[in-house]
């Protein structure tokens, strides 16, 4: 077993365990912290896949900004233990069965297509995934979507302000 495969398996175990911890934990704060661990592990996977810029963006945007927002709202609402009571009794077993079906189906498709996936063996072009190259593609091929993204973020900002504004004044 090569070192890369060993590293992958250990990290995959951490990622799956932290995702399950997020799912199972009763306390929403612990769930959020497990999700931070999961995002950090996925950032390491991005580094292994020669995507350093995306890895750093993952840590700063996901594990940083988004999860801080989650923790802030959980603590603001005091909602650590909300939503414990299951009002539809058959929903949980049905959901688990359907998730298993999804997992088996996707796994079967992956297994039956295992020879189809590309096995590119050549060396990567220098600077693949570097911030310079990401910027070059972002501002040439994807210039219009990039500009639309700024409008989207502006709309989200205005929407968040309007939604949380206290109208009883």
């Amino acid at each position: 077993m090569s070192l890369q495969l060993f590293l992958f398996l250990v990290l995959a175990l951490v990622a799956i365990t932290s995702a399950l911890g997020m799912l199972i934990n009763r306390n929403a704060i612990y769930s959020a912290l497990f999700l931070v661990l999961n995002f950090a592990t996925v950032a390491v996977f991005f580094l292994l896949l020669n995507a350093p810029f995306i890895a750093v963006a993952q840590v700063s945007v996901y594990a940083g900004a988004i999860m801080v927002l989650f923790l802030f709202v959980i603590m603001l609402l005091g909602a650590e233990r909300a939503g414990q009571i299951q009002s539809i009794p058959w929903q949980r077993p049905l959901a688990i069965a359907l998730a298993l079906v999804l997992l088996l189906e996707a796994g079967f498709i992956l297994y039956s297509q295992r020879g189809v996936a590309p096995m590119v063996t050549g060396t990567l072009p220098p600077g693949f995934g570097s911030p310079a190259q990401v910027g070059k593609v972002l501002f040439s091929t994807y210039l219009l979507p990039f500009e639309v993204t700024s409008v989207l973020l502006l709309v989200a900002m205005i929407g968040a302000i309007v939604l949380t504004k206290n109208e009883k004044k």
Binding site: A28, L49, I54, F70, G83, V134
Partner: protein, 100 residues
């Protein structure tokens, strides 16, 4: 170099855990976190394909997905705060009326 099938398998498992979280958890914030987990699994598949095709386009898509996820979280959490103000609960089973 690890085969792409390992990365796709991991993305499938993470996506399934996220979908399961949306289905079985009743806390709206945890449902949101599960959605983030599913987006993250898709990101992992994108970056794995970008590496194996040696193309930057997959990584740019991940960048856009992150932006959309950030906007979605900002709006979603604002909605949750507003619902909590009127119902004093964020249990998704309680959100069953259109009237505020």
């Amino acid at each position: 170099m690890v085969s792409i099938n390992y990365y796709l398998g991991l993305a499938i498992i993470l996506f399934t855990i996220g979908a399961l979280g949306v289905l079985i958890r009743r806390n709206a914030i945890i449902v949101f976190m599960s959605v983030e987990l599913m987006l993250n699994a898709a990101n992992l598949a994108f970056v794995a394909f970008a590496r194996y095709w040696q193309s930057m386009n997959g990584q740019i898509f991940v960048f856009f997905i992150m932006t959309v996820a950030a906007a979605e979280v900002a709006i979603g959490l604002a909605l949750i705060v507003t619902i909590f103000r009127s119902k004093a609960s964020i249990d998704v089973d309680q959100m069953n009326s259109l009237k505020g």
